[in-house]
C-alpha cells in the first residue's frame, strides 16, 4: 500500500492540514501536496480507468507527463475535466472525481472491455464496426459513444475570469531547473531583458531530489542562492506556475500562467495567457523518464522510478512499502537508494544490463540491496494494485525464474529530452545512440526573420543529462551574443555527480517477449495502446510513424504521448527492421500541455466578445421597441415592436404606414466613401459596371460593383459632389470591405492616378424620410427647397432643413417619394426627434430593416447578399441596363466574357408568386424532371428573397430560374423541408408600381 512517511517531504508543511474530497470521500493532505501525492498518502492507488479497456490505472508519474491520473475538478461554474492530479496543487476544500467508469471506480462494468480485448485491436474503429451496416446505429455507435471520451464536458458557464498579457523582451528562458536558472543568470548579468518561466510552483527542477553538488554546495542551496541573485536583477522577471506553451514564427511565444488554480478563493484572473515577442528563447525544459514495456506495466503501483523518489523526497509519501526497481540505466539506482534511506524495503533491483551499472550500483549494494543483472520483469501480477513481479532473463522470452512479492514497481527506461518547444517551430532532432534518445540538433534550429536561429536548448533538454549547468552556461553565452550583448567573465559553476555507466536501450522487456506478454505491455496508457498493437500496424503495412500513430491512436491522447512516443516508435522501427532515426518522430505541436479554453478566449467574452457599432439613434431605437438584427458589426432595428404586437404585426404595420403615410428609416449604417481627385471619375468608371464619369455634379446614379472575377460584390448610389469629388454609398456591411477594395486597386495597380478615398461612414447620421407625405413633413420643418422642380428624382442638394445643416438625396429604395438626409452625426438624434415631431400630424412612424426589405422586394430591387452570393453576375439579375457598353474596361468585364458567364443556361432573376398566396420558404429549390449523375433530383432554380407583402396581400418572392425570363406564367414546384410542395408562378420581379410613378413626384 502507499502511505505517508513519518518524516520528510521538502515541499509539504505538515502543520497545515488540507481537507479534500475524492469520489465523495473526505480525505486529508498537507499544504504543498499535489492531488496525486495526497491521494497516494491516503493509499488511493487506483485513480481512474483506461480509455478503451477500462483497466484500473494509478498514478504513474509526478509531473506534466502523467497519462493516468486525470480527474474532474470542482463543480458547477468551475467544473473542469481531465485535470492531471500530478500538477494539481492541493488546497483546502478541493473536490475531485475519477473518470471513465460506470457505475463506480472500484466496480466498473466497462472493464468487460478487457475480456473483449481481442476484438479491439489496432484500428478497431476501421475494422470491427463496419459490418453489418445496420449494426452501426443501434449497437456500435451507442457503445462507442458511451465509452468514448474521458472526463465529462462542463455544463455550466465558466464562472472564472481570464486575461491576455502582452510582453516583449530579449530572452525567454523556459524551465526553472538548474539549467534554466543558470541560463537566466548569464543573460541577466549581461544586461538582457529576461523572462524566466517555470511551469510548477517550485524552482530547481529535479536537482534537489536527485542530489549532487553545484559550486560545492548542495543543489537545493545553490538553487536558493541563484534565485536570490535573479530576483535582485531589475532586468530579470521570474514567473512560476507559468508554462511555456508554444513557440511560433519569428519569436512569438505563448505562455500559460495558472494564477489561482491553487487558491481558488483568491481575487483576480484564474489563468493568464502571455503573448510574448522575444528575440531569443532558451528551452531548459529537462527530460522525461521513459517507462519500460513489460507485461502488466499499467497495474496501479507501477510507476516511473523518478516519480517514486519525487513522492518520497518532495512529499514524504511512499508509493509502496516493498518496491522492486527495474532499470536499464544507472539513474534508476537513485530511486532504490532513496527508498532504502527512507526506511522502505527494496527487495530487488533488476538491471537489464548484463554487467550492471557504476558508482550508484555500488552505493545501492552497500546499502544491502540485492541487485540482479541481466534480469527483467516478465510480468507484474495484480489487478487493482501490484502483488508481485515475475523475474525473468532480459534476453529470454519471459519464462519466470522466480516471483518476488512487492506492492510497487519503479521502472526506468532512460530519459527523453523534452524537445517539444524546440520542435514547435521547426527545430530538428538528432538521434543520440549513446544516450538512446532524440535530442535537439543545434545545427538545425528554428529560424527567425533574419535567417538566424532563435531557439537554443540548455541542460537535460539538450541531452546534457549530467553537466546541465555547464551546458546551460555555454548556451546562454552564445545566445547573449546573438542578442548583441557581451556575456560576463564568470566561469560555469562546477558540478559534482557520481560517474554513470551508459544506458542499454530496452524497448521490450524481456527482449523476446511472448505474444501474450506483448499484449499486456502498454505503450500509451491513456489511449490503451500496447506493443502488440504497434506490431500489428506494422504487419498491416503502416510504415510511416505518422500513419501508425493515427491508426493505433498511439500518442493521440491528452498527454500527447509524452511517455509513449519514443517507446512506440522504437517498437515500430524494430518491426520494420530499420534504425530508429529512419522511422523518425511524429510532429510536436503546441501547446505543450493542454491549456484552458478560458485562457485562449481571455477577455473576449460576453459583452466585449465583439464591439457593437451604434448609430447616433441607437439609444432611441433601443428604448422604442427595436427588435435588433446584427448587420456586420452594426445592430439595426428589424422592426419597432409596439406593446401587444408580434414582430410580424409590427413589420406589416410599418410597410403599410410607409406606403400610405410616411416612414422614418435610420440609414446611418450605409457606407459613405468620398472619392476625390482629378482622376476620380476615371477610377470610378473602373470600379462600377456603369459610367460614373459622365454623372453631373448635383446628381445621383445607382451603381454596381463587381470583383475582377465578374461577380457582384456591392451596390449603392453614387452622388457627384463636384468635378473632382464623388460620394459613394455602399451596403451596410460593405463600407470597410469596399474601402479596402478601392485602396487595393489604387495602391497596387493604378498608383499613378490622382485619387484618394476617405471612409466617412460614421461622420454622418443618415435618415430616410419615405412615403407620400415625406415632402410635407420636411416642409413643416422649413428651409431648403425640396420641391420636385428644385430637387428632382436622383438629385441631391446641400442646405438647411429646419435648424440642421443637411444634404438631401432624392433616392428611393422603396418606390415611394423618398429623401435620404445626411446631417452631422452629432446632430442625428436631434434631427430624428425634429422629424418625429414634424411628422406627428402626418402619421409618421419609424420602420426597420424588414419593412425596408419587403418594400424593395415589392419593387423588384435586388439586395446584395440575398440575390447575390458570390456566384451571381449582374447579367443574371437582368441588370444589363447598369452595365456600360461604351467602356473599354471595368473590374469584372473580362471575366463576364468567359464562356460560362455567357452561357444562356445560367439561372436568371424572376419574380415568383405562389398560386395560393402563401409565402415560399427562403432558399427553396425548384425541382426539374429527372435525376443527376448522383441520383439526386435535378434542379432548375432557387428562391433568393421571399416575404408576405401587406401591400399586395400575398406572398411574393424573387428567385433565380433557368431560362426564367422566357418562362413567364409557368408554375414551378418548390418542395419544402416538411414534405409540402409549394407551387409558384414565374412573374415579373417588379410587383408594385412598375412605371415608378410614385417615387417620381
Amino acid at each position: 500500500m502507499s502511505l505517508r512517511l513519518r518524516d520528510g517531504g521538502r515541499l509539504i508543511d505538515r502543520s497545515a492540514r488540507m481537507a479534500f474530497q475524492f469520489d465523495g470521500r473526505s480525505l486529508t493532505g498537507f499544504a504543498g501536496d499535489t492531488l496525486a501525492s495526497a491521494l497516494l498518502a491516503n493509499d488511493k492507488m487506483l485513480v481512474g480507468r483506461s480509455f478503451k479497456y477500462h483497466r484500473p490505472r494509478g498514478v504513474v508519474a509526478s509531473g506534466a507527463e502523467e497519462p493516468n491520473a486525470l480527474v474532474n475538478l470542482a463543480q458547477g461554474g468551475t467544473f473542469e475535466p481531465n485535470q492531471r492530479a500530478t500538477t494539481t496543487e492541493l488546497f483546502d476544500g478541493l473536490t475531485a472525481t475519477s473518470q471513465n467508469h460506470w457505475p463506480s471506480l472500484e466496480h466498473d462494468i466497462g472493464a468487460v472491455n478487457s475480456s473483449l480485448a481481442r476484438f479491439l485491436p489496432a484500428g478497431f474503429y476501421y475494422k470491427t464496426f463496419i459490418h453489418p451496416r445496420p449494426f452501426w446505429k443501434h449497437i456500435y455507435e451507442p457503445f462507442i459513444r458511451q465509452s468514448a471520451g474521458l472526463g465529462k464536458a462542463p455544463k455550466d458557464r465558466d464562472a472564472d475570469r481570464y486575461e491576455h498579457f502582452y510582453y516583449f523582451c530579449d530572452l525567454v528562458v523556459i524551465g526553472g531547473g538548474v539549467a534554466g536558472l543558470q541560463a537566466a543568470r548569464v543573460a541577466g548579468e549581461a544586461g538582457a531583458k529576461v523572462l524566466l518561466l517555470e511551469q510548477s510552483a517550485h524552482w530547481g527542477g529535479r536537482a534537489p531530489v536527485d542530489g549532487g553538488e553545484i559550486d560545492g554546495r548542495p543543489a537545493e542551496a545553490w538553487v536558493t542562492d541563484t534565485l536570490a541573485v535573479l530576483e535582485a536583477m531589475p532586468n530579470v522577471t521570474l514567473r512560476s506556475r507559468c508554462m511555456g506553451a508554444g513557440v511560433y514564427d519569428h519569436g512569438y511565444l505563448l505562455a500559460y500562467e495558472r494564477l489561482t488554480d491553487h487558491a481558488p478563493q483568491a481575487d483576480g484572473p484564474r489563468h493568464r495567457l502571455w503573448r510574448i515577442r522575444t528575440q531569443q528563447i532558451i528551452t531548459a525544459t529537462g527530460a522525461i523518464e521513459r517507462p519500460l514495456s513489460f507485461a502488466g506495466n499499467d497495474i496501479p503501483g507501477v510507476m516511473l522510478a523518478s516519480a517514486v523518489r519525487d513522492y518520497v523526497v518532495n512529499y514524504g509519501v511512499a508509493p509502496g512499502q516493498r518496491t522492486v526497481v527495474v532499470t536499464n540505466n544507472d539513474d534508476g539506482y537513485r530511486t532504490a537508494i532513496c527508498l532504502k534511506q527512507a526506511g522502505l524495503d527494496v527487495p530487488r533491483i533488476l538491471d537489464a544490463r548484463e554487467t550492471g551499472g557504476g558508482a550508484l550500483m555500488e552505493e545501492a549494494r552497500a546499502l544491502g540491496i540485492r541487485i540482479d543483472c541481466g534480469r527483467a520483469v516478465g510480468k507484474v501480477q495484480g489487478g487493482k494494485r501490484v502483488k508481485s513481479v515475475q523475474v525473468c532473463a532480459q534476453k529470454g522470452s519471459g519464462s519466470a525464474l522466480e516471483e518476488v512479492a512487492c506492492d510497487a514497481v519503479a521502472m526506468s527506461g532512460g530519459w527523453s529530452p523534452v524537445v517539444h518547444l524546440w520542435s514547435h517551430c521547426g527545430g530538428k532532432l538528432v538521434w543520440d545512440d549513446v544516450q538512446a534518445h532524440f535530442r535537439p540538433d543545434a545545427d538545425r534550429p528554428p529560424l527567425g526573420r533574419s535567417g538566424q536561429g532563435f531557439v537554443a536548448v540548455a541542460g537535460a533538454a539538450n541531452g546534457a543529462l549530467t553537466g546541465a549547468v555547464a551546458d546551460a552556461d555555454a548556451m546562454a553565452r552564445g545566445v547573449v551574443q546573438a542578442i548583441g550583448l557581451k556575456p560576463g567573465k564568470g566561469i560555469a559553476p562546477a558540478e559534482t555527480q557520481p560517474e554513470e555507466l551508459p544506458i542499454e536501450p530496452v524497448w521490450l522487456m524481456p527482449a523476446q517477449a511472448k505474444t501474450e506478454l506483448k499484449a499486456k505491455a502498454w505503450l500509451d496508457y491513456q489511449n490503451d495502446v500496447k506493443v502488440s498493437d504497434v506490431q500489428l500496424a506494422a504487419r498491416e503495412g503502416f510504415e510511416s510513424v505518422e500513419h501508425t500513430k493515427r491508426y493505433t491512436t498511439l500518442g493521440m491522447a491528452t498527454d500527447q504521448g509524452k511517455l509513449s512516443n519514443i517507446n512506440g516508435l522504437a517498437i515500430l522501427s524494430d518491426a520494420l527492421g530499420q534504425p530508429i532515426p529512419q522511422t523518425g518522430t511524429t510532429t510536436f505541436r503546441p501547446p505543450y500541455t493542454p491549456i484552458s479554453m478560458g485562457a485562449i478566449a481571455g477577455e473576449a467574452r460576453g459583452d466585449i466578445f465583439q464591439p457593437v457599432r451604434e448609430t447616433p439613434m441607437y439609444g432611441w431605437n433601443d428604448s422604442n421597441g427595436a427588435d435588433w438584427e446584427p448587420v456586420g458589426h452594426w445592430r439595426r432595428p428589424y422592426a419597432y415592436v409596439r406593446s401587444g404586437e408580434t414582430v410580424h404585426d409590427a413589420v406589416m404595420r410599418e410597410v403599410t404606414n410607409t406606403r400610405e403615410n410616411v416612414g422614418l428609416l435610420d440609414a446611418s449604417t450605409l457606407g459613405k466613401l468620398i472619392v476625390k481627385g482629378p482622376d476620380a471619375g476615371k477610377f470610378l468608371d473602373m470600379l462600377y459596371t456603369n459610367m460614373m464619369s459622365t454623372l453631373k455634379p448635383g446628381r445621383c446614379r445607382y451603381g454596381l460593383m463587381c470583383t475582377e472575377n465578374g461577380f457582384l460584390t456591392d451596390d449603392g448610389v453614387v452622388a457627384r459632389i463636384d468635378e473632382d469629388t464623388f460620394l459613394c454609398h455602399t451596403t451596410t456591411g460593405g463600407a470597410d470591405r469596399i474601402h479596402a477594395h478601392m485602396e487595393e486597386w489604387l495602391q497596387t495597380e493604378w498608383w499613378d492616378w490622382q485619387v484618394y478615398v476617405a471612409n466617412v461612414t460614421e461622420q454622418y447620421a443618415q435618415i430616410g424620410v419615405v412615403g407620400p407625405k415625406a415632402r410635407a413633413v420636411l416642409e413643416t420643418l422649413g428651409g431648403m427647397d425640396l420641391s420636385a422642380e428644385a430637387l428632382p428624382f436622383m438629385a441631391w442638394a446641400d442646405g438647411k432643413i429646419g435648424a440642421f445643416d443637411a444634404r438631401a438625396y432624392r433616392v428611393s429604395f422603396s418606390g415611394e417619394l423618398s429623401y435620404e438626409i445626411a446631417v452631422p452625426a452629432s446632430r442625428g438624434q436631434a434631427f430624428w426627434d425634429a422629424l418625429l415631431e414634424a411628422g406627428k400630424a402626418h402619421g409618421i412612424m419609424p420602420y426597420g430593416t424588414e419593412a425596408l426589405h419587403i418594400m424593395r422586394a415589392e419593387k423588384g430591387f435586388i439586395m446584395i447578399g440575398d440575390e447575390t452570393d458570390g456566384t451571381v453576375i449582374p447579367q443574371d439579375l437582368g441588370l444589363n441596363w447598369a452595365i456600360s457598353k461604351k467602356k473599354d474596361d471595368y473590374l469584372g468585364k473580362r471575366a463576364q466574357e468567359r464562356v460560362h458567364m455567357t452561357d444562356p443556361d445560367r439561372w436568371k432573376l424572376v419574380g415568383l408568386e405562389t398560386v395560393d398566396g402563401s409565402v415560399l420558404p427562403d432558399g427553396a429549390y425548384a425541382v426539374a424532371e429527372g435525376t443527376n449523375a448522383n441520383g439526386q433530383r435535378n434542379m432548375q432554380g432557387r428562391v433568393t428573397s421571399t416575404y408576405h407583402s401587406p401591400t399586395l396581400g400575398k406572398g411574393i418572392a424573387m428567385g433565380l430560374v433557368k431560362h426564367g425570363p422566357d418562362r413567364m406564367g409557368e408554375v414551378l414546384e418548390f418542395p419544402g423541408t416538411d414534405g409540402t410542395v409549394f407551387k409558384a408562378k414565374i412573374v415579373d420581379p417588379v410587383f408594385y408600381d412598375k412605371d415608378g410613378d410614385k417615387q417620381n413626384v
Binding site: 529560424l447 526573420r449 472575377n709 479596402a740 485602396e743 487595393e744 474596361d889 471575366a895
Partner: protein
C-alpha cells in the same frame, strides 16, 4: 505569426496588424486578353518552397500595401518594399542571391 517591417511607416508589424494579399507582381489582363492569359492572371499562383514575393497590407496601421520577399520554408524575410513597382528592388535581389545563389522566381532571379 510573422513580423514584417512596413516600408511606409517603418513599424515592425506583427502579423495580426497585416492582411495577406497573395502573390506579388501579377500583371493584370483585362478585356482583349486571351482566355489563357486571363485564366492565369485570375487563378494560377505560384506556391514555391523557398523564395517568394508576396503582397501584404498594413491594415491595422498605416493602411498601405507593400511587398515582402521571404522564404516560405525558413520564414526568413529578405526585405519589404512599397507595392508601387513592377519588379523587386535590386538590393533585395542581391541579398537573396548572396544567401541562395541560383534562385529564381518567375521572370526574376
Amino acid at each position: 505569426m510573422l513580423i514584417l517591417t512596413c516600408p511606409y511607416c517603418g513599424v515592425d508589424a506583427d502579423e495580426t496588424e497585416l492582411t495577406p494579399g497573395g502573390e506579388a507582381h501579377l500583371t493584370r489582363h483585362g478585356p482583349g486578353s486571351s482566355d489563357d492569359d486571363f485564366h492565369d492572371y485570375l487563378f494560377a499562383r505560384d506556391n514555391p518552397r523557398g523564395v517568394h514575393f508576396e503582397r501584404w497590407r498594413h491594415t491595422y496601421g498605416c493602411g498601405k500595401w507593400f511587398h515582402a520577399a521571404r522564404s516560405t520554408d525558413t520564414l526568413e524575410v529578405f526585405g519589404t518594399y512599397p507595392a508601387q513597382t513592377t519588379e523587386p528592388p535590386k538590393d533585395i535581389c542581391d541579398k537573396i542571391s548572396g544567401e541562395r545563389p541560383g534562385w529564381s522566381w518567375r521572370i526574376f532571379g
